[in-house]
Symmetry: C2
């Protein structure tokens, strides 16, 4: 009988603020970081998960994951992994920890990382990539994973079962197609606010040459700059190439509507995060005002309850699921089922560190077993920090290839963890590396 023998959390940080990679209107100087969790068993097996943060506070996030130890240490591995729905509900339902959210912020993301580490362990033991493990579950097994509390006014267990059963017939064929053709990516690499127009144009040309079918530009710093940068992008890419824009929560309703009026002539593919991710009614108001410009959000939507309301209120056209913001695999399955119910395409958020590696599994599972093929599926891609992962994503002709390696993609190279440990690793202690405070 194998048991869980340790839960270790590493405070891993990358000094990305030195290069202005990742700069946007709300986040001028991120140091991409991960509170990285490692579960070990008495059989010598391991599972990995992470919360992505952008620097300060990564230690607080690590402490929150450590506070969950009592829920895993000494647990029988087979029993735990056989009921990951129950495991997820037990963590979310811990009444003392629940007070710290409930179901949001630092403690909820900590739960997500631990739930994901357990899934990673299970996928490694079953020698399958996470997406395929999930896709091969029966509809009955999938709904057992979901916490329907606070969802039933929009999605009942029976409706979820029906969605999954409807997807059963073509599943094997879709899995084969996904393994052959992958899922289209769009890239945010060219569009950071910190880049010059020349660098923007150069990177846009490069993106198109690499086969990407959509790009995304950050907006929201200055409307004049945004108009100029959109003109550069249209000039480089032509009238019909899809160019999404992302305001990273910068605006109130009236400002969003006004600003987007200036950008509308350049026909953005969507406006992402026009305002606070908590503001369902503001998203709905903005969407009505800027129609037919599609509205997208999701990367900082705190849980399934807010996701549900965004769909109930017809506030969004695209849901941008994140792998490390909500309560893990289980809650993201709930969100994918909600999106299928409301016919909202799921186009996962990625970038940061490890998010591409993690989130691709959701998109492949969704395509295989939940919403099926619908022609509106993209996964975000940023060409950054993949070299630190044991199973980095593979992008071919602008598409994510189906992950083949066992697990969830979360495992970093041990040498990366060691060198980027904050504040003691060499990346942070060598003088030339210390960033401006």
């Amino acid at each position: 009988m194998a048991t869980i023998t340790s839960l270790t959390v590493h405070d891993v940080r990358f000094p990305t603020s030195r290069e202005l990679d990742g700069s946007d209107a709300m986040n001028p100087d991120p140091d991409y970081s991960a509170a990285y969790v490692e579960l070990r068993t008495s059989d010598g097996e391991a599972g990995y998960g992470l919360v992505f943060t952008i620097g300060r506070g990564n230690d607080v996030q690590a402490a929150a994951i450590e506070a969950l130890s009592l829920h895993v240490l000494d647990r029988d591995v087979d029993t735990l992994l056989a009921d990951l729905g129950g495991f997820s509900r037990a963590l979310i339902g811990d009444s003392q920890l629940r007070w710290l959210g409930p179901e949001k912020g630092v403690m909820h993301m900590a739960i997500g990382a631990l739930v994901n580490a357990a899934w990673d362990l299970r996928a490694r033991r079953e020698d399958k990539p996470l997406w395929l493990l999930l896709a091969e579950l029966t509809p009955e097994q999938v709904v057992e994973l979901v916490d329907f509390r606070y969802l039933t006014d929009a999605l009942t267990r029976e409706e979820a079962l029906e969605i999954l059963r409807r997807a059963e017939p073509g599943k094997a064929g879709r899995i084969a197609t996904l393994q052959k053709s992958g899922i289209p990516a769009y890239t945010t690499t060219p569009g950071w606010l910190g880049y010059s127009d020349g660098k923007l144009a150069h990177l846009l040309r490069e993106a198109r040459a690499e086969g990407f079918e959509m790009v995304k530009l950050k907006v929201g710093g200055s409307v004049e700059d945004d108009v100029r940068r959109m003109a550069v992008a249209r000039d480089v890419l032509g009238a019909d190439f899809p160019i999404a824009i992302d305001a990273n929560q910068r605006w109130d309703v009236a400002e969003a509507v006004q600003w987007l009026g200036r950008l509308a002539p350049y026909r953005p593919a969507w406006i992402e995060e026009p305002t606070s991710p908590d503001d369902v009614l503001a998203h709905a108001a903005i969407r009505r005002a800027v129609a037919p410009l599609p509205v997208a959000t999701g990367e900082q939507v705190q849980n399934r309850i807010v996701a549900k309301q965004l769909m109930q209120a017809e506030a969004i056209d695209v849901f941008q699921l994140d792998a490390a913001r909500v309560g893990g695999v289980n809650e993201n399955i709930a969100i994918m089922l909600l999106a299928a119910k409301f016919s909202v395409p799921v186009c996962p958020h990625a970038g940061g560190v490890g998010l591409c590696e993690l989130v691709q599994h959701y998109a492949f599972f969704d395509a295989a077993a939940v919403s099926g093929e619908h022609g509106h599926r993209y996964i975000e891609y940023v060409d950054h920090l993949h070299e630190h992962f044991e199973d980095p994503v593979s992008i071919v002709d602008g598409a994510y290839e189906a992950p083949l390696a066992a697990g969830s993609g979360a495992r970093m190279h041990p040498s990366t963890v060691e060198s980027h440990l904050y504040p003691t690793g060499p990346v942070w202690t060598e003088e030339s590396h210390v960033p401006v405070a």
Copy 2:
């Protein structure tokens, strides 16, 4: 020139789960706790603040407050205290920390505790109780404290100014009345789920005899139990005595409507937290279905953005402001202004440890300078743990007396902090005191 020389956080816990005090349908075994922060200056002055939690995770909450040190250490005290609006915005706008919410959960509550400690320090230096300090600010000074980001579709700076200016003429008179008569309290002391019917009846009689004009019962465990307990309460208190009920987020929409149908014959004064505090649309649906039964929520509403939507969607009749859930004094002023705009009475949540001491200041400020007298103002009261505070609340004839002591009420006795430190204080190390894990 005085500077901030230290920020110290204490993990203080009270073993309340031994007595089932505070048990409700979602929180069966709370150990009331506080992540308690102490700011010290080079002049030997101090300011105090706290986040209330219910046990596990209080250490994570403490770590989150400590992570804010860089925003206060070595700061000039006069400059800091002269612009607490700027201080609050700087903390909430720290882009790296913001990623951990944004504006919600552990990190946001940490910001609230630090903001409140700075207000406590300012009130002590000015030798005024916090509520009076706030009430004596001009309308222009008050709006400078508020972060209007994400509010302007419901409340602009100009509208806020107008609300405050409208309250100016009678302010001095209202302050005098408040100092003479206080604000009515309602008590939750009798109504915990863990109590027998006999204890319930006894405590209800006691509450009425003490002059309370309203009581509150916890519900949501079992509908048959709730019907029986409401019958006991009506029997003891008579047909017209206001009895509020509180489900602590227990239900989905359909279940809430069904359950409340069973309790409606006993005419509850309001139903509090029928469902998730994140679910604006569900509160609105429940309110429509159970009308004219009033709906209340707020104690776990994460920020002003969700508070705003609850009012925009006509989802609530009463807002239950909490002193330690949102980003502190400043964000609570924003919420009181929103409530005044939408004519929603603010009836603060209290109980726990220290919440009565803290939250009374908001109710007195609101009555003096924001919404004025309207006859629907109550402050929750639980007769519990007040002896640990240097300036405990004073309840006379069922009403909170206006606080007289300088500060915000947050300061605990040093001996309490020492004895209840977790896990090293004597309350936790003496064997007879160790609770069941």
